[in-house]
């Protein structure tokens, strides 16, 4: 049995807004083991990024973690002070943000920006040590050494994204969160970056949390995955198991709405309607308004949402499992 690295237990997070509390993360629990890659998939606004931000506690000022625990190698992160958190961030958990390649400071050289992060965490390192470290990182992500002395505008999108990955690895984290790292890139570059991330992950034995709305990318990248809908995990388990034996209606719809270049050309199913507003308290199954065949019970909201075991390490929301 591999060592547990990150354990999230019943995490609840909401945003306080003028029109009420938006419950963005509801009772989310998952465990990530050493060297494992865990995928988080769902449509825009389902709470994927909110989960990632809660892990690092980088959420916006109006966001509050109301209950739950996040344990990193047994150490509780919820409730830590800002200065303690600063040590955890990057050192233990780092993140590749969505569109991060556009977040480089345009007037500072790439190498200097990465060195800044290392300096913050390893103040006793000499400049030469840090430069050696960056050289090493660049080698891992497939960048040439001289990129260090370039400005962001001199690099292509793919190169900038590689540099962002190098930055995320700069303080030897245990867990790396990749939040849609390839969304703005075209397919060939996406393919290269995905391979790079996979290679790095295996090489360094990292635990990876991969967030995407593209279920095809999740299939490529992860061994465990969770499907999120309206702030909750509706299905979680081994990726292969979920793809071959999806239990939740939403998972099935996601799978049936993804085009592929292999296999028989099939009619894709569209997912009509919109996710529910998270301001209101949702009674019962949050997916029932869009479910292709909801029962009366689902629609009335008399059933509670809870995950039940449907296979080895495979859990799905009870509502959908019971209606089939």
């Amino acid at each position: 049995m591999k060592k547990e690295v990150l354990k999230v237990d019943n995490l609840n997070m909401h945003y306080e807004t003028l029109s009420g509390n938006v419950s963005a993360v509801k009772n989310v629990s998952f465990t990530i083991h050493e060297g494992e890659s865990f995928g988080l998939v769902g449509e825009s606004g389902c709470g994927k990024t909110s989960v990632a931000m809660s892990l690092l506690q980088l959420q916006a000022d109006n966001a509050k973690i109301s209950s739950g625990s996040i344990k990193l190698e047994g150490r509780e992160l919820v409730g830590l002070s800002e200065s303690e958190l600063r040590k955890v961030r990057w050192d233990s958990i780092s993140i590749v943000f969505q569109g991060a390649m556009n977040a480089w400071n345009p007037v500072i050289k790439i190498g200097e920006q990465i060195r800044e992060a290392i300096r913050e965490h390893y103040p006793s390192n000499t400049k030469q040590q840090n430069i050696e470290k960056i050289k090493e990182l660049f080698e891992i992500v497939g960048l040439k050494e001289e990129i260090m002395d370039r400005y962001p505008h001199e690099l292509s999108g793919g190169m900038k994204q590689r540099a962002v990955i190098a930055l995320a690895l700069s303080c030897n984290p245990k867990v790396v969160i990749a939040d849609e790292p390839t969304t703005a890139l075209d397919v060939v570059i996406q393919d290269q970056i995905l391979k790079e991330i996979k290679k790095v992950q295996e090489l360094l034995g990292l635990s990876l949390i991969y967030i995407s709305h593209d279920i095809a990318v999740i299939a490529e990248m992860t061994s465990q995955m969770a499907v999120m809908y309206a702030g909750s995990i509706v299905e979680i388990g081994p990726t292969k198991e979920i793809f071959s034996n999806p239990k939740h209606a939403y998972t099935r719809l996601l799978l049936e709405s993804t085009p592929s270049v292999v296999g028989e050309k099939k009619k894709l199913r569209s997912l009509d309607g919109e996710p529910p507003s998270l301001i209101d308290d949702i009674k019962g199954c949050s997916f029932s308004p869009r479910c292709p065949n909801p029962t009366e019970e689902c629609k009335n909201g008399t059933k509670d949402m809870r995950l039940i075991k449907v296979g080895e390490g495979h859990y799905a929301d009870s509502c959908c499992v019971e209606c089939g």
Binding site: E43, S44, G157, I215, E220, K240, F243, L254, L255, T258
Partner: protein
């Protein structure tokens, strides 16, 4: 054999760039270099390739948004039923041409005027082309909103783009395009900014409209999986040239050109037990081979309406 709606022959579009400050030398970027294709009435062609390969430049030249450098573009004239060159259109004829050819853009957040209501946005082309009486126009707007699935229309007419979701905005773009009853629509990655859940509904909407209204699409995308769903034929572009063109399933099952193979192999497969083939392609090498091939022998037919560029790429993969 269906009649062609669009015929493009040896289209070229070059951009001149200066060799640097104070330099007299001019460099030429061949954004689109000698490409040819046909699109039959009611069918769709997918233009697939990496960013910067010239897909959008081709589309803009086709819509007369940018002047082409060389080549012929012919368009079917509905009245005479003949293919006519669009080179020397002006005045009324140009206006008529523009009515028949429309564009849907990639980003529904940027392509709609934020200070106009949905009604104004969809009404604009009718006003510009002065089609129908004022009350006819209002009816047409209501009708087209129903067609694209924004119902009830009265809820949408007075709203502004920022009040709509990405999918709804893209439906507005489609409505604005289709209200002119065009025969040919150029779609520049219309679903790449949309979420998975709404992507299919927009694609299905476009497919149904193509069937009902006999619209042809030139569908630009970098995602072959999307192109497969939308198009009868796919043309693969690399550095301004079409390197392979064939009927969709033929192209995917029997790719010949190394670049096509590379492109197909880079699409993630939504199946964790599927092992993708790994192709590593040296782009610089491919680029120099293509650059050396200056004779412009065009493409060779290998049967099944499957054409591959003639430059020698053996042993590249």
């Amino acid at each position: 054999m269906k009649q062609n709606l669009v015929e493009v022959k040896n289209l070229e579009k070059y951009f001149e760039t200066s060799g640097g400050l104070l330099s007299r030398k001019k460099n030429v970027v061949k954004a689109v270099d000698d490409i040819s294709f046909n699109i039959p009435v009611g069918e769709s062609l997918g233009l697939v390739g990496q960013s910067g390969c010239g897909k959008t430049t081709t589309a803009r030249a086709l819509c007369l948004l940018d002047p082409k450098t060389n080549g012929d573009i012919k368009f079917l004239n509905r009245e005479t039923n003949l293919l006519e060159s669009i080179d020397n259109l002006d005045g009324e004829e140009l206006k008529k041409f523009r009515r028949n050819i429309q564009m849907i853009f990639q980003d529904p957040y940027e392509s709609l005027n934020p200070r106009w209501t949905i009604k104004d946005i969809i009404l604009e082309p009718l006003n510009i082309h002065n089609i129908g009486s004022l009350s006819d126009r209002d009816d047409a707007v209501v009708e087209i909103l129903k067609t694209v699935g924004l119902t009830p229309p009265e809820n949408y007419l007075p709203r502004y783009p920022h009040e709509l979701s990405g999918g709804q905005r893209q439906r507005v773009s489609i409505a604005r395009t289709l209200i002119m009853k065009p025969k040919f629509v150029v779609c520049d990655e219309p679903t790449s900014m949309l979420d998975v859940s709404i992507r299919i509904s927009i694609m299905d909407l476009m497919l149904n409209l193509a069937k009902d209204l006999e619209v042809s699409y030139l569908y630009i995308t970098h995602d072959l999986a999307v192109a497969r769903y939308m198009c009868n034929t796919i043309a693969v572009m690399f550095n301004g040239k079409i390197v392979e063109i064939a009927e969709t399933e033929e192209l995917l099952s029997n790719p010949i050109h190394p670049y096509t193979k590379r492109l197909i192999s880079s699409i993630p497969i939504p199946d964790p037990s599927y092992e993708r083939k790994v192709y590593d392609l040296n782009y610089d090498e491919l680029d120099s081979i293509i650059a050396k091939d200056t004779e412009k022998k065009g493409m060779v037919d290998i049967g099944n309406q499957h054409y591959v560029a003639t430059h020698d790429v053996k042993g590249l993969l």
